[in-house]
Symmetry: C2
Subunit: 412 residues, 2 copies
């Protein structure tokens, strides 16, 4: 295939992670070093930045400062949750994107995100093809949720899993320090897929007593009798629950409300949350025990200080691979991972069709969850342990992380 010369845009979308900037760095560095790519733009707040003509010139950034993106959490370019309409119904946004692409001679578009972002990539690419505008479009995966279809795992997941497992270990010791009884409820992110909550099982000897994922139906009565029995036996119980657990009718447990109070009013429940408080209230009423609810909240997705080295390296590699493949002629693919674990962990990038990835969720296999639906089995642990391996080498200044500070010079 002949070399395609032109500018590129790199955008980030969806919820941030500890390592999405490592992916961006891989893509930016590969693009800056590529002979084919004439200019490297970062879209401010993802596709919104393209629509609003807000593009940062990456050549204006100091290369040493850029390198700090490897250890800077959140999305340095800014993110959005903007969903493009179906172009058949309304192609206004697509026409605008084409206009911007033409204005800056953009021939490469790299989008770093989850399911929705792959859908965005796919729609943009199809529109460009229909309009005869040559442009190579590649998806770079990220999501702490680990729910992207087709890839062994997602960049971002290993670091979040490492944070969760480590925190579970630390809380295990903390919650056992007194000689009095105590029940602790840990609420972990994950609406439809339980990958993050499953990571609690990586804590091994220090893992929670019970782990509930949204892959199975949650039964309040069974839960309460399990907890009560364990409490009677051991005096200490730790439970990890995914924010998305639901009953057999699909109703979220977070919406049950605790012992007659209107828990759900306090945050308006636009975002989920409050599940730990709801369960703590119910468990307290049932057992009379001291109960504490803990939400891992945003910390689980932005804790770059405890990012997995493996995750950082793979994230960087996926960003680089997207650019290198595109320059060599590939388009309409997402970079995925193909891994082997027998005889030591090995991970290679592979290319997956965007349309296969878009809008398909990968769940925790039922065979990795125990029959009772309250625990996670060895199959998951063998799968996930390699992903949390290795420690970050984040630069510190005065005992605190030194994050990248970008100049963010806008193109005009």
């Amino acid at each position: 295939m002949s070399q395609l010369k032109g500018a590129c845009i790199i955008g980030q979308s969806g919820g941030p992670t500890s390592v999405i900037n490592a992916s961006a760095l891989g893509a930016i560095e590969a693009a800056l070093d590529s002979g084919a790519i004439t200019r490297v733009y970062g879209a401010a707040n993802g596709i919104k930045g393209v629509l609003d003509d807000r593009l940062y010139i990456m050549e204006e950034e100091d290369r040493a400062e850029l390198k700090r993106l490897r250890h800077t959490p959140s999305s340095a370019l800014g993110s959005c949750r903007y969903k493009l309409k179906d172009p058949g119904a309304d192609d206004t946004d697509y026409k605008r994107i084409l206009e911007i692409f033409k204005k800056y001679d953009v021939r490469y578009f790299f989008y770093n995100g989850g399911n929705d972002s792959m859908d965005t990539c796919n729609k943009i690419s199809k529109f460009m093809q229909r309009n005869g505008y040559e442009c190579r479009v590649m998806g770079i995966p990220k999501t702490i949720d680990n729910d992207l279809f087709g890839t062994d795992h997602c960049p971002g997941y290993g670091s979040a899993a490492k944070y969760i497992a480590t925190s579970c270990m630390e809380i295990y010791l903390d919650a056992r320090v007194y000689d009095t009884g105590m029940i602790t409820i840990l609420e972990i992110m994950g609406r439809h897929a339980g990958w993050l909550t499953a990571a609690a099982a990586l804590a091994g000897d220090y893992a929670p007593d019970f782990i509930y994922l949204p892959e199975t139906d949650f039964n309040m009565d069974t839960f309460l009798s399990d907890v009560q029995a364990r409490y009677a036996q051991k005096g200490k119980v730790i439970v990890a629950v995914s924010e998305g657990i639901h009953d057999k009718d699909g109703k979220l447990i977070a919406e049950y409300g605790g012992s007659g109070t209107q828990q759900k009013d306090s945050f308006g429940h636009a975002q989920l949350g409050g599940l730990a408080a709801t369960l703590a209230s119910v468990v307290k009423e049932k057992t009379g025990a001291k109960v504490r609810g803990i939400e891992f909240s945003l910390l689980q997705r932005c804790a770059s200080h405890i990012a997995s080295k493996t995750d950082i390296e793979e994230s960087y590699a996926s960003g680089r691979a997207a650019v290198e493949h595109a320059v060599s002629g590939v388009t309409d693919k997402m970079v995925g991972f193909r891994c082997t674990r027998d005889g030591g962990y090995r991970c290679e990038t592979e290319l997956l069709p965007l349309e296969d990835v878009a809008n398909t969720e990968k769940k925790v296999p039922r065979e990795w969850i125990n029959d009772a639906g309250n625990g996670v089995l060895q199959g998951y642990i063998d799968y996930a342990l390699p992903l949390i391996a290795g420690e970050t080498e984040q630069e510190k200044e005065n005992g605190l992380p030194r994050f990248a500070k970008l100049r963010k010079v806008l193109a005009v």
Copy 2:
């Protein structure tokens, strides 16, 4: 002073920290290596273990495994919140303690804890003296709250402060990722003293917009207008609040309840908490913004993975110093720190009378808080930055902390 030969007991009390076991290790190692101390016992669950005759034989532990206590959070020997009665009113417990001391020929008692523990030490020592039983009693400080009187700072504080400052930095980036408005309320421990919440200011460029400590009165109207003005101006606001903030009448804000709901019922409020949810509810009603409440909860006191190296080393040194001073003839003292910061940070141990320390709380000086009572000044930052310096060298196994596993052989 003549050498006093006999056994020692080391106990831990109060809430756990990331480094209380480093202090215990310092004391245990010094005791094991001392010619004067004939046997080293660890009290199971602090003074309760003495009363219940549950003492672990430290000579039975593997020395290499013991060393892992340096990086193991919580209280490895177990803790308690048992408060001894005034011996004038009821000396039953003291008689029992004397009985146990005689049974095991205990001539040294080291107690590792906060205000209450120093009070316990003091009462036990006085009782032994009145009863003509020679025993040297030393306090080893610990508290994430940093509220012990007389010492520059407390072991445990630096690590908790490092966790809080780092988490604030990470949340700052996360909360700014979208181009839509967002208000985030961070709830940090501290009922009467605001040291932990003040640590949010260490995040520097990434620090919360407003920081409220219990050292000043909290006014809901002023708070709401401050937040609303900043939200109108910037679109993003982060607020850090101490769990113990209160109004001018001393009423806890945590007990206000959010917009008509009975927040306080869900946990029964035996422990504080729910403040973030309460404030989030009020702020949401006032501003209409997306608001998220985050409680740092137990994680801030047990996050050994991000302990301060300075804190670990000082904690260890304070444990060693207690034993070495006692063997050399000192009694009735707590080990404190005397520090200089001009021309580089230097810290030395010093000895403080137990009775001066017991039951006196040290608060954040008013001159380190701004006039409006919603921010922390440079004086505090200069004080605290050295305490969070340096990174832990915690051993990892499969990407996760390798904590000490003690045999805990009981004496009979």
